[in-house]
């Protein structure tokens, strides 16, 4: 019975969280330049609706949703739009993407919507629309547009909303501090989400290494009957939605399905705080709490920072760098992306900026796999990382899929414990990419085949019609000649 509520595998990374929890969340000022990327969420990039030189106010819509899977973006402060230009993306591919550049005027005048809404008697659909209008995305790191989840949740009968306060990645303390300082708003945001998906209860999962946060949330939850604070064991990757659902409800999300298939929806605590701000303070998602940590940083701390703030300015606000870091990361050390340079902007999904030294990364040259099986023990999804890597290295992506590549959540536990320091997650991302590429190619193959068959059919039809027309003309001509010859005989 115990196994049902226990997460399998996972690792015990040394947390190093205490560096950034001694100081409260510091609200930063306005940077000299803001560049808000158009695609900082899962799905299609937003469509810019402002032009160069236009003056925008704080919280005004500057990018509308494009298509059904997208999210809108808003101006973090009042200022002049410098234009829509390319900017380096916080992504290891060194590619750049479009972003709206705003030069703040420092007045910070707030945009007041014409028809202010009364938060009390909002219907479920209204909440979902407001969340969509506020451009709220999952702030845990997946950046999936929250409104889509709410709409999907309300259609299927979801009975439980799980608040993800586990924050299992080392160094990250933004959720922890958020819960400590703003537990009431988090819970009121969760009530709104609960209403939007007409579920019955809220369960907040918080790891047992955050006692202050647990106490704060429990105090805030006293007033609500349908809220339960569940203390869960500290183990990476507890924060992954599938693992959290397994520990709290004992059920597993079917493969290929969504959590709403088993009546559960997971939202990050920061997301529910953003929902609270969007509904009660009519404040779209224009800022978020980011952890700044790592030994190469002068003063590690948590800051509330505007979306689009350049990382360089952010580091300067925190006393700059002690030494040049071996790697600058956005996100946690286990799933975070390496930053090409510090000119990149803070996006909605940026939960942390880490400046790590070699000692913290502890990388080493790769040696051959000795099939020791510690990666199999560490995998929370029960896959066989050594076999998947072996097949990916031999370019056999179907073979890798047979060992569960499509179920891999890229959490990094296997690569963390591999004694040979093999870049397993790198292999799986490579294999997943190639597999998707092959699928797109074969789908395109079928599509072009149907096109060419349609073309050939059309050409045959046209040839047949032409032949028929010619035959008919010839027959008519023959009939006319015969008719004329009859005329002569008569």
């Amino acid at each position: 019975m115990l196994m049902k509520f226990k997460v399998r595998g996972g690792v015990h990374a040394d947390e190093r969280k205490e560096q950034s929890t001694d100081k409260p969340i510091r609200v930063l000022g306005i940077p000299p330049l803001l560049s808000i990327p158009l695609s900082q969420h899962a799905g299609l990039p937003a469509k810019p609706i402002v032009t160069e030189g236009q003056h925008v106010l704080k919280g005004e819509l500057i990018g509308a949703t494009a298509g059904d899977r997208s999210a809108s973006i808003h101006a973090p402060t009042s200022g002049k739009v410098l234009g829509i230009g390319r900017i380096q993306a916080p992504h290891p591919s060194l590619l750049s993407y479009d972003a709206i550049h705003i030069e703040p005027d420092g007045l910070d005048t707030v945009y007041v919507p014409e028809n202010p809404i009364d938060p009390q008697q909002l219907s479920a659909e209204a909440i979902a629309d407001l969340v969509d209008g506020a451009g709220i995305v999952g702030l845990g790191g997946a950046t999936y547009p929250a409104a889509l989840k709410l709409k999907a949740g309300s259609r299927q009968n979801v009975h439980t909303l799980i608040l993800n306060g586990s924050e299992c990645e080392p160094y990250l303390t933004c959720d922890d501090m958020l819960m400590r300082e703003r537990a009431a708003e988090v819970i009121s945001g969760a009530q709104l989400i609960l209403k939007a998906i007409n579920a019955k209860q809220i369960i907040a999962g918080i790891e047992d290494n955050k006692p202050e946060a647990i106490k704060a949330m429990q105090d805030a939850a006293q007033a609500h009957s349908n809220v339960e604070i569940r203390v869960i064991p500290t183990r990476y990757p507890m924060g992954s939605a599938k693992q959290l659902i397994k520990v709290i409800t004992g059920r597993e999300v079917p493969t290929g399905g969504r959590s709403s298939d088993i009546g559960v929806l997971v939202h990050n605590v920061a997301t529910s705080f953003a929902v609270h701000q969007a509904i009660y303070q009519a404040r779209p998602l224009i800022s978020r709490v980011v952890t700044l940590s790592g030994q190469a940083l002068e003063t590690p701390q948590n800051v509330e920072v505007l979306i689009g703030t350049p990382v360089q300015w952010l580091l300067e606000q925190c006393g700059g760098l002690l030494s040049t870091p071996t790697r600058m990361l956005m996100g946690g050390p286990m799933m975070g992306q390496i930053l090409p340079n510090t000119g990149v902007p803070i996006t909605k999904g940026a939960s942390a900026i880490l400046a790590l030294t070699e000692e913290e990364i502890n990388s080493a040259p790769v040696s051959p796999c000795i099939r020791c099986g510690s990666c199999v023990q560490a995998c929370p999804m029960g896959l066989l990382p050594l076999e998947m890597a072996r097949h990916s290295r031999a370019d056999d992506y179907d073979g890798a899929n047979e060992f569960g590549l499509k179920d891999c959540i890229l959490c990094g536990s296997c690569a963390y414990v591999c004694p040979s320091h093999i870049p397993l997650v790198h292999y799986f991302q490579f294999a997943k990419g190639k597999h998707r590429e092959n699928q797109i190619q074969s789908r395109k193959g079928e599509y072009t085949k149907s096109l060419s068959e349609a073309r050939m059919a059309r050409q045959e039809k046209e040839a047949a019609e032409k032949a028929a027309a010619k035959a008919e003309k010839a027959a008519k001509a023959a009939a006319r000649k015969k008719a004329s010859s009859n005329v002569e005989e008569v």
Binding site: Y97, K434, N438, G445, Y447, K449
Partner: protein, 174 residues
């Protein structure tokens, strides 16, 4: 001497009967391997494999005259599935898996309509004296339009790398 002949022939006859009878029970039509292979080929009859159409290419592959990697539009995916189907091994090195697509240089196109007539998958849209455009999704990179265009304003390009179609490269093998 007579006995041995009698025994052997009777044994042979008996076994022959059993096999003849068994043949009727297990009669199976000739499995349409060639048709199977042809249905796997892109079917655009583009001729890049050196055969007139996909049918003759399939036939050549089945009886081993052509290598399974002789079909560029199919790319590595097709070569691999053909190799599995025919139980042969295929070295995929010479097949560039990077798909090429045609694109029209707007400044040079005079709207002569020669290209979209030869395109096997109707991937080019355009009218007389109008600017022509190539639909990337429908284009297999067969290159017929490039030869057909008098102004040579059509060229095959590699897809431009964006954040969506970017993939992780393979880690350096130790």
């Amino acid at each position: 001497m007579f006995l041995t002949i009698a025994v052997l022939t009777s044994l042979g006859l008996m076994l022959g009967f059993i096999l003849g009878y068994a043949d009727k029970i297990f009669a199976v039509e000739e499995d349409p391997l060639i048709k199977d292979v042809e249905s796997m080929l892109p079917g655009t009859h583009c001729g890049q494999c050196g055969f007139t159409g996909c049918g003759s290419a399939a036939e050549a592959m089945v009886n081993g005259e052509a290598d399974v990697t002789c079909c560029p539009p199919g790319g590595q995916v097709l070569a691999k599935s053909l190799a599995d189907k025919l139980g042969v091994s295929a070295d995929l090195s010479n097949l560039t898996s990077v798909p090429l697509t045609a694109s029209v240089e707007e400044s040079l196109c005079t709207g002569c309509c020669r290209c979209f007539r030869v395109c096997p998958t109707d991937a080019i849209v355009g009218a007389n004296k109008q600017l022509h455009y190539v639909f990337k999704d429908a284009c297999t990179g067969c290159g017929k339009c490039v030869t057909a265009c008098p102004e040579n304003c059509i060229a095959l390009h590699q897809e431009e790398e964006t954040l969506d179609n970017w993939h992780w490269p393979k880690p350096a093998v130790v």
